[in-house]
């Protein structure tokens, strides 16, 4: 199976996965920061409870979409031993494919709307 089709096989992405990928494509973040970033990017609309957050990260790690970094980042507050998550190239490709897919869906829907009009 080619890398490309394995990308296609993951689509469409679950909602949480999509938002986490978007949040992580700027910089590596630790778990809770991911949740905060997703919330702020969505203006507080998308909120993830802890169980879903960590389950999703866990699954994304297993699929090779994200990886834990061994970056030596300055300790934040009083919890120095956190795991940081970083987008893999595969994760980036999957995100791009999903964005393209959503775009096609929108184009398709738009065409239909225009035809109806």
């Amino acid at each position: 199976m080619t890398a490309e089709s394995s990308v296609l096989d993951l689509l469409p992405l679950p909602r949480a996965t999509f938002h986490i990928l978007v949040a992580l494509q700027e910089a590596p973040l630790h778990g809770y920061a991911v949740k905060q970033r997703v919330e702020s990017l969505s203006e507080g609309v998308v909120r993830m409870a802890p169980a879903t957050l960590y389950e999703t990260l866990h699954r994304m790690k297993a699929r090779g979409l994200v990886e834990e970094t061994d970056l030596e980042l300055p300790p934040e507050e009083d919890h120095p031993q956190r795991s940081y998550y970083r987008l893999t190239s595969h994760g980036r490709a999957v995100l791009a494919a999903e964005v393209r897919r959503l775009g096609l869906m929108v184009d398709h829907a738009r065409l239909l709307l225009e035809e109806g009009a």
Binding site: L10, G31, E55, R63, S83, R101, L104
Partner: protein
Amino acid sequence: MWAYRAALFLLPRDFREQYRDEMLRAYARELGASRSPLARAAFRLRVFWDLVLTAVRLRVRPPPRSNAVVKGRKGMRGSARWGYDLRMALRTLRRSPGFTMMAIVTLALGLGANAAIFGAVKAVILAPFPYGDEDGLVMVWSQWINFPKTWVSTQEYQNYTRRARTLDDVAAFTGESATFTSPDNPERVQATAATANLFRTLRVEPEMGRSFTDDEARGGANVALIGYRLWQRRYGGSSDIVGRNVEIDGVATRVLGVLPRGFMLPTDYQGTTETELFRPLWIDTSADVQVPANGGGHGLYVVGRMAPDASAAGAQTDLSRLVDDLTREGVYPPEWGFRVRVIPLGDDVLGTSRRALWVLMGAVALVLLIACGNVGSLLLARGRTRAREMAVRSAMGAGREVIVRQILLESLLLAVGGGAVGVVLGMLGVRGLLSLDPGAVPRSGTVGLDAGVLAFTLAVATATAILFGLVPALRAAGQADLAGALREGRRNTGRGGRRAHGLMVAGQTALAVMLLVGAGLMLRTFQRLSAVDPGFDTDGALTLRLSLPAARYPDVASASAFYDRVLSETRSLPGVTDAAFVRVLPLATQIGDWGLQVDGYTPPPGQGTPGDWQVVSEGYFRTMDIPVVRGRTFDATDDVTGDGLVINETMARRYWEGRDPLGTLVVAMGDTTVVMGVVGDVTHNGITAEIKPKFYRLQRQIPDGLANTQRGMTLVVRAGTAGDPYQVLAPVRDIIRRADPSLAVSEVQTLDEVTAGTLGQPQMLVTLLGLFAATALLLSVVGVYGVLAYAVTRRTREIGVRMALGADRRGVVGMVVRQGMGMASLGLVVGLGGALVLTRTMRGLLYGVAPQDPATFAVVSGLFLIVTFTAAYLPARRAARTDPVGALRTD
């Protein structure tokens, strides 16, 4: 907090241990951020609910352990996924009933033809013979100058039995007929006299009772075995038939046993009647026997069982050496050119039918390929209109192999549907065709639908589905990945698709051309055969066969009395213009020859003076409308003391070489006779068989020593030109019954039926090949039309632009027609080339026409171009009607 900590135990252990601390911290921070008690309660509710759902998800579908990339799609696996895909494919096909119907009908034509012909191939060629180890059996024939395959003499049989090293067992049998002479139910059946080792040689055990022994054969015991069908028909399958005495040809005969169901003699496969009575034949093989100077009588069929390590070629060498030895020892004069032919039993029985069926099998394979091409074209065209659907489905997350799988599944459903319809149609068709003439192909009676045919059809259908479905499926999957497919979906796809489509149509037309050429050659063959003049008038004549038992008709005079009475009463029937008896009816029964001595003629070295021998009543030539060329034929003035001989033109030409044959002395059948007349030639052993010298003797002038030669006769009744000859059958039967109530009548047929029978195989071939070629032409024309019509629809805009720019309608028509004729011409050239190669396999089935017959090739090309032009013109005309303004507005 403690509650959440406790609830974490719902999670799987390894997950919990990995994330517990972080989850608790996140929980604490979130909870702390909530100001009001109400918000805190809502938060708790949400978080706990989320935890429960997550726990369930993680346990139901645990994440993979490694970082390995997960293959396959979510959820469904194995049979569930196939079930889903199957429902999906069915729904897709139901949504476009027009396409589905078209595809199924097309495939049904192709698969049905294949099922039918395979059914015939299986029954005729592949089915085993009713003998043990048939591969070890060979038929042995004699060959002389001018006689490529003829009977074996008693002396030859004795020599083979005694001296052949490659044959373990050699059995001989004759072909004759016999009558069950009970007054209430006389019945004439085909019979044989066989050496006692026949059944051992064939490895056949009687169903009941036993076979006859050498002692019974030697002692001339009146014993017999009967066939299974006769046993059922005449004796109701009763088991006490064994040991009973029945009257056969006026002689009490003890029934020793019954042969198994389906048993037939090797020679029975050539005709429609099978041997049902088996009586012993004694040939002493204990001592070497000198072959008499005239070569002896040749009247035996011989079948041999090869030694375990022998081959048919080896047996041929062995027997040839034997014959050469005998020639060297002076037993056979070298100038006879005597040879022996050893033919494997299967080859001997099936003859040209095997080749004919393989040709038909090839023809139906071509039809199926064309049908595949058509359905593939349909799928390709449909694939283009479905490009958008495919892009959307891929956008919705369908992987490439999902799309390939689904289109292949649709193809498979179409093929199986087509196969189911086709198998039924095919079987009905082949039954109908074979019922027209059951004698055309040996063993065709057992052709039918069975598990083997069904399995074959299913296998072919599956292969077919992959053949026509794979290219469209891969193409669709390719399109699905193109992001741009969506925006282009409404208009056009690549030029490559159109070229592939065009090549496919060209391929189809090439196949159709090959079939058309094959059918054309067969049609010419059939025309040539039908045009052969048999030398007698076949219209409005009924024939039937009689056999007088020696017990009641011991001499020629007693038989003459019977024949004269039947003839005079028959001739006086209303509607009957003439009637006569003949020993063997032309084209119905093979005729053998008898050595002659012609006064003033010395045969060249290596050749004798043979003549096909015929015994007739007076009035035979008048009744058959055989012209008298010189002198006169037999009439009422020729009494028993006469010595007249009538010969055919070929004999006059060959043995008199320009001299006048009239009045010449000829020793024929032991008597010195005088040639009194020459008659026209008549084809006898087949419509294309070489016409050999033939002589006719009058029945009542046959010497009593040869009384056997005039006991079996065929009555020919000329019933005028109007009406059905069968109308005279009942009164003629009455006449025969009054003359001898114990006589049975057999082989009732008209002369037209007799001649048509000899055309059976070519007729079947021309009908079937014609049918397949017409189907192929239709399918390929539909293919050409479909591609062009589709191209025109898709190019509406382009054509509109051209016309807006000033192209006239004629130019547009020309453009489309050129495209169509381009495809067709390519196909025609390739097809004619292929036909040149393929029609070579038809050599041996053709008559009077070469496999490369230029006229056939020319006519096929012309026909083909006209038909494809029509198919191309229709869409072209539609294209020319395009309204430029409207076309530009589309989209």
